[in-house]
């Protein structure tokens, strides 16, 4: 698909032979192609507009038109800009000075929170030698507690749950439990909720207030479309999360939601989830994500060598 965008841009530039500098007028077709590629990849409408404007401004200052392959050259500018937005540094989970480290997991229904909570427990155990306990603070979804228990059992991790439908209490007691058992990490799985559900948004804010987590993560399905910015913004306003987890990247979605969210809330993407099995977790790589959104193959490295 890189060829797609790159050859489309090449075509768009063909009509510009003989012109020395990029101008608002002669770049319009190219900008339209890029914008369309972004929209096809589910990048938010406003974000796509902002992004193409930025890329255009950058291109104005460079000698794109006199390059051997202006289309490729321009694609490289687009790609670089996207990688810059995603940020280069890999950000880790915050750790408490005095244990336990408390991690709160939140997001929309079905985004992958429970699966991710178990994956994170496994990851922290294996990679960081930590001893986590999972808190079953989804007290609503049918069989949510059993789901978490089943997953936890497969990685020999304890779960704290209670009979009462009181998510705040579960979270608080799980933290006390961790202290008394000398467990160093508490991962709180919460119910899926709509950002417009006032009562449920209050609940998650209350949980956060009650346990003062060291790390709050917003879990989002990578197949999400235009609405990603609304939900990401609303959750951020309510719980001011520290990072984002992108799930279901084992699908074939282009994942433009990642760019939209990063642009709008400016929080780092800390993990990506790539399968239903508990080992399907990986760090976030900005370059891979940018290539994916733009539908690019290896041509970036070709341009880099050129």
């Amino acid at each position: 698909m890189f060829e797609d965008l790159s050859s489309k841009l090449e075509k768009a530039f063909q009509s510009l032979k003989g012109e020395a500098k990029i101008s608002d007028v002669n770049i319009a077709e190219t900008v339209r192609e890029i914008r369309r590629a972004l929209l096809d990849a589910d990048v938010n409408y406003e974000v796509a507009k902002e992004f193409t404007n930025k890329v255009k401004d950058r291109a104005m200052g460079e000698d794109v038109l006199t390059a051997v392959n202006p289309g490729q050259q321009f694609t490289k500018i687009v790609y670089d800009e996207m990688v810059t937005i995603f940020g280069q540094e890999r950000e880790d989970i915050e750790v408490a000075h005095t244990p336990p480290t408390v991690i709160l997991i939140a997001g929309l229904q079905g985004s992958g929170k429970t699966t991710f909570s178990a994956k994170l427990a496994k990851y922290l155990k294996e990679e960081n030698n930590r001893n986590p306990i999972l808190a079953a603070a989804d007290v609503y979804r049918p069989a949510a507690i059993n789901q978490l228990k089943t997953l936890a059992e497969s990685i020999s991790t304890p779960v704290y749950s209670i009979e009462q439908k009181d998510a705040v209490r579960v979270a608080k007691e799980a933290v006390s439990m961790a202290k008394s058992l000398a467990l160093d990490t508490v991962i709180i799985d919460t119910a899926g909720r709509m950002h417009v559900d006032e009562k449920m948004m209050n609940e998650v804010a209350e949980i956060k207030e009650a346990v003062q987590p060291n790390e709050t993560l917003f879990v989002v399905d990578s197949m999400t479309g235009q609405d990603a910015v609304n939900t990401a913004k609303e959750f951020n306003e309510r719980i001011n999360y520290d990072g984002v987890v992108l799930t279901k990247l084992d699908g074939d979605t282009r994942g433009g939601a990642a760019l939209s969210i990063k642009t709008v809330v400016e929080k780092p993407i800390k993990f990506v989830s790539t399968g239903e099995k508990l080992d399907a977790l990986s760090p976030f790589y900005p370059d891979r994500m940018a290539q994916r959104i733009l539908g690019m193959g290896d041509v970036v490295s070709l341009v880099e060598k050129a």
Partner: protein, 298 residues
């Protein structure tokens, strides 16, 4: 959020007595459609249709003009809508009527089955559920709770059983018990995973061995917040199990679910239901007009 309600009026004004549509208005229309996940391709199609109508029927009066847009969008959905969508008390051509529910992970399959079971039962039908998601942790427990809520029996063999065997059992039990309708839950699977899609095709196949023509419906569940990938999903599921209808879930948020316009049009399948919450009564029969109105915020 920007007010979308003015677009109809503006569109009317912009094209009244003209044979082209004002570029600014088209831009605004484009923004509304794109931000509702309608997608570039379908948006271009809709805009082309409107321009063609305007060029053909010059000098329409302004009240007619206001409806052009909605009509053209509804037409994309309408062509494929069933005559009588989802009358829960209607007689099935064949008994038991088997409905298989499929889709990618976490879209709302199990919940939608619980809600449908409730609606059919309320309408006096004898319902059976089949727990053919034996893979996801506690999936059987989850469906079991829904079966209790809807007060209908469930056929299950526990976690990790062969899903095709559960599906087979379900159809057989539905026949033996003289049930009107069986709803078969399946594990969420991403459409690009060939082996899982083959498994789904097999689950479908075995049901036809018990009852001629089963499953009679294959419902693909799409999450309203899903973007352009929903088209890939629909194409892949159709090629493996031949989708007969769509259910669009999670419309109780701010996502518009505009992708179903293109999906319905391209794959020639009707949208049958919408999910508007997590409770048992939160399922509605799809209404094209209401849906298109909601795209424009009225």
């Amino acid at each position: 959020e920007k007010s979308r309600t003015g677009i109809m009026e503006k569109l009317g004004k912009a094209i009244a007595g003209k044979d082209t549509v004002d570029a600014e208005v088209l831009d605004e229309l484009e923004e509304i459609l794109i931000t509702s996940d309608v997608g570039v391709k379908t948006t271009v199609e809709i805009i082309d249709r409107i321009e063609a109508r305007v060029a053909k029927d010059k000098y329409l009066n302004s009240s007619e003009l206001n409806n052009i847009l909605k009509e053209e969008i509804i037409a994309l959905l309408k062509d494929h809508a069933p005559d009588k969508p989802a009358e829960f008390d209607a007689d099935f051509p064949q008994k038991p009527h088997i409905i298989m529910v499929v889709g990618v992970n976490g879209v709302g399959k199990t919940t939608t089955i619980g809600k449908l079971a409730h609606l059919y039962r309320q309408a006096g039908k004898k319902v059976v559920l089949g727990a053919a998601d034996t893979f996801r942790a506690a999936a059987v427990d989850q469906l079991k709770i829904w079966s209790e809520r809807a007060d209908v029996p469930i056929i299950q063999q526990g976690q990790n059983a062969d899903p095709a065997a559960v599906a087979y059992d379900t159809v057989e039990a539905a026949s033996a018990r003289g049930a009107d309708v069986a709803l078969v839950d399946t594990a969420g699977r991403l459409h690009n995973k060939k082996s899982l899609m083959d498994e789904l095709a097999k689950i479908k196949r075995v049901m036809g061995k018990v009852v001629e023509g089963a499953p009679h419906e294959v419902i693909l569940v799409l999450d309203a917040s899903t973007g352009q990938n929903a088209m890939e999903q629909a194409k892949a599921f159709t090629s493996f199990v031949d989708i007969t209808g769509l259910a669009l879930t999670k419309l109780d948020g701010t996502a518009k679910g505009g992708i179903v316009i293109g999906v319905s049009n391209e794959l020639d399948v009707p949208v049958k239901y919408i999910g508007v919450g997590e409770q048992i009564e939160d399922l509605q029969v799809f209404d094209r007009e209401l849906f298109v109105n909601s795209l424009f915020g009225d």
